[in-house]
């Protein structure tokens, strides 16, 4: 078992290294002169060549690819993401601030999504093939087709403009989080419902269940131990997959609702060619994914050592 | 001629075949007999070059055996053909692969010899009977005139009547074409009827080998006798005086 776990951790490490390499390579090959863009953003005027060269040297663009890569990677492993090319401030604290705005939104969105999808999935599977079941599937299909930004705009139109019940832009009050979280939650609930529903159905239909019933294992114990455990597998997968969805959704929703957070952090960094910031966002989100996926893999092995690859 | 010299084949760290030695001359038939799990399929895979031998070598006329492009007739004819392609397409693959020209006359002759009507080949594998499919398999194996043909339980998917018939067709074609035949089978009766030599495989080793008649009438080992007696009991082998 420990060899298996070690293998998983090793794999995750390799993947992380690969993503770091890809991220770095992308920004390295960005067209245009990044030094120029940085200088422009920093000094707000078109700068003479001497200044631009100085910026380039400072940012480390002069060195070769691999030297620059290892020079960049080293500090990252210790959590130092360098300084913003534009403001000169450390990236990490600003990134943390941005995350502190995004995380509550993502969690609120997840909560709303679960509030909608869990009861819906449970009700739907009570009578498989029935009206509620088919309705849930239809709703989930439509939900998966709706672009999140459109949903957000429609909600703004309805609740903020038309009815004036809720505020739309910015993050001044906690009421400001309602619409964004609702957008996120509705979007997430579509896929959550579908996956929960099929997970529960599969677990309910397992061949061993009638055998247990005949032996007198009671209904609720059955649900709890066996259905729950087998349903846990796809549910855990769901959380891993939905994390990606949540992150992207939060970024998109922040941009629509003009909230501070990772979304605006990323977009403004890209526009200003502030590579350390861009790299930081990408690395952090990737690291989050890989870690979550690793934990999911480990959890799978612990729940049921017989299971092989959990990926579809 | 085929020479298998002291080969050992491993799967992972476990040896599946130990110290196997065989030889086979053109026109002759060698039957490899044994229970399931004895290593018969591994032996075939090794001779075909699909598995490597950790020790020893397999040669045809002192060249690596793959150079003579041995053909294989599989046990289950249905999976031996791509279900979406016509039988004709599959049959001609060996010719196409060698970039050779098709000898239509030869194709017709072989079809006649296997009692296959030419328009049968236009059909798909799912549209013919198992017996027909197996005969098409033999056709494909022979089309490019290989000097060595391997048969993996060629009759077990067929019913009893078809078995005898197909076995005879194979034997007749061998007389005509002159190929060397290595037949893997668990059916001692088949081996007795059609093989020149028999090798008994057990747990990865050759228990005994020799002329077919001798193996049946006077098995040298206890295991050989067990096999023979079982075959008598099942009726697949008839007592010969």
């Amino acid at each position: 078992m420990t060899t298996v776990l070690f293998g998983l951790v090793l794999r995750a490490a390799v993947v992380l290294l690969g993503t770091a390499l890809v991220t770095f390579a992308l920004l390295w090959h960005a067209p245009g002169d990044p030094a120029l863009a940085i200088a422009l953003a920093r000094y707000q005027v078109v700068v003479p060549d001497a200044v631009r060269d100085q910026v380039r040297a400072e940012a480390g663009f002069d060195a070769g690819f691999w030297t620059a890569f290892s020079a960049w990677l080293g500090p990252i492993l210790t959590g130092d993401f360098g300084q913003s090319s534009v403001t000169g401030r450390d990236v990490w604290p600003d990134l943390l601030v941005a995350i502190s705005h995004t995380a509550p939104l993502a969690l609120a969105g997840l909560a709303i999504g679960l509030l909608i999808s869990v009861p819906l999935a449970l009700l739907a599977t009570r009578n498989p093939g029935g009206l509620l079941d088919r309705g849930a599937v239809a709703l989930a299909s439509i939900g998966a087709a709706v672009p999140q930004y459109w949903l957000g705009l429609l909600l703004i139109l309805l609740f903020a403009e038309h009815l004036s019940w809720l505020p739309a832009m910015g993050a001044r009050t906690s009421m400001h989080m309602v619409l964004p979280a609702l957008t996120l939650g509705l979007a997430v609930s579509a896929s959550l419902t579908r996956i929960l529903r099929s997970g529960i159905q599969e677990a309910r239909g397992r061949p061993f269940l009638p055998a247990f019933r005949r032996r007198g294992v009671s209904g609720s114990a059955l649900e709890r131990d066996h259905v729950a455990r087998h349903a846990a597998v796809p549910v855990i997968t769901v959380f891993g997959l939905e994390l990606a969805f949540l992150l992207e959704g939060a970024v998109m929703v922040e941009i629509i609702f003009a909230r501070p957070g990772l979304g605006s952090f990323l977009v403004s960094a890209i526009e200003a060619r502030d590579f350390p910031k861009v790299q930081a966002v990408v690395i952090v989100s990737v690291a989050l994914f890989v870690t979550v996926n690793l934990m999911i893999d480990v959890l799978y092995r612990l729940i049921d050592p017989r299971i092989g690859e959990p990926h579809a | 001629m085929l020479k298998v010299r002291d080969i050992t084949v491993q799967r992972g760290t476990k040896p599946v075949l130990h110290d196997i030695s065989l030889s086979l001359t053109p026109g002759a038939t060698l039957a490899v007999v044994g229970e399931s799990g004895a290593g018969k399929s591994t032996l075939l895979a090794a001779i075909l070059g699909l598995t490597t031998c950790s020790i020893g070598e397999i040669t045809w006329d002192d060249a690596p055996v793959r150079s003579c492009r041995p053909a294989l007739v599989m046990q289950e004819p249905r999976s031996a053909f791509n279900p979406v392609l016509s039988l004709r397409h599959s049959v001609l693959e060996p010719i196409v692969a060698r970039k050779a020209a098709l000898d239509q006359g030869r194709l017709n002759r072989l079809c006649a010899g296997l009692e296959l009507s030419p328009n049968l080949l236009a059909r798909r594998p799912g549209e013919v009977s198992i017996g027909q499919a197996q005969r098409v398999g033999i056709l494909r194996a022979l089309i490019a005139r290989p000097p060595l043909v391997l048969f993996d339980e060629p009759l077990s998917a067929l019913d009893a009547v078809t078995q005898k018939h197909t076995a005879r067709l194979i034997a007749d074609l061998q007389d005509e074409e002159g190929f060397a035949a290595l037949i893997v089978t668990h059916d001692l009766g088949y081996a007795a009827a059609h093989a020149d030599e028999i090798a008994v495989l057990r747990a990865g080793r050759i228990e005994e080998s020799g002329a077919a008649r001798d193996c049946i009438l006077a098995p040298k080992t206890a295991y050989g006798r067990t096999l023979r007696d079982a075959a008598f009991a099942l009726g697949s082998l008839e007592r010969v005086a």
Partner: protein, 259 residues
Amino acid sequence: MRSVGVLAAIFIALALLGPSIAPHDPTAINIPARLSPPSATWWLGTDALGRDILSRLLHGARWSLGLAFIVSVIGLCMGTLAGLVAALGGKYADWIVMRATDTFLSFPDLVAAVVIAGVLGAGTGSLIFALCVTGWMRYARVARGIGLSLRSRGYVVQARLAGLSPLSIARWHYLPALLPSLTVVWTGMFARAILGISALGFLGFGVQPPTPEWGTMLLDARIHMRSTPLQMIWPGLAVVTCVLAINLVGDALRDALAH
């Protein structure tokens, strides 16, 4: 199944014929008529520059649907190739391709696409690049799985024994077996590409104005949300209907495959 096929046909027709049946020139600016509500002349009204929304929608189909089609097909080719290399190329090739797949799968879709499109400069080229680079992995996994199981199939062994070239083996024996499953994956990726292209367009990183693309149209509409809220409905509705139709086709295909 049939109704779903009809739907799909309608969309293909839309994408191909759209521009020809559009009543007006989508780029014709007509300031006096800007932001007009739906009328006989302009069935869905006009946008901020007086351009006919219906015509822009129809022309936009070429971009939102057509570009998505191209992106998903390129992804299909890249991913299938990678998957086959992994299945047929031996242990090292398999390991490398699988780690690459894991690596690219670890990038969140939208974030990666935004970063790529943003860094390489907004425009159609970087849009295609961004979506392809983030979209080939699912094909690779499926192709590898099927490829591995096919390797030991009887007729594949026979083809190898016959000495058939790897290219011919791939073409005659692997592709027919891969096509059904890959098509199902492709429908999902096609839908994803539609959503991705319009999302990036909405964020300003995708197709650039004045090209009518449903996402950028939404971006325009958002600015005038107060005065002409209706304008926001149409592009979004177009995206939803197309994606829904494609997902339904995909589901029907998957069900058909399972039988």
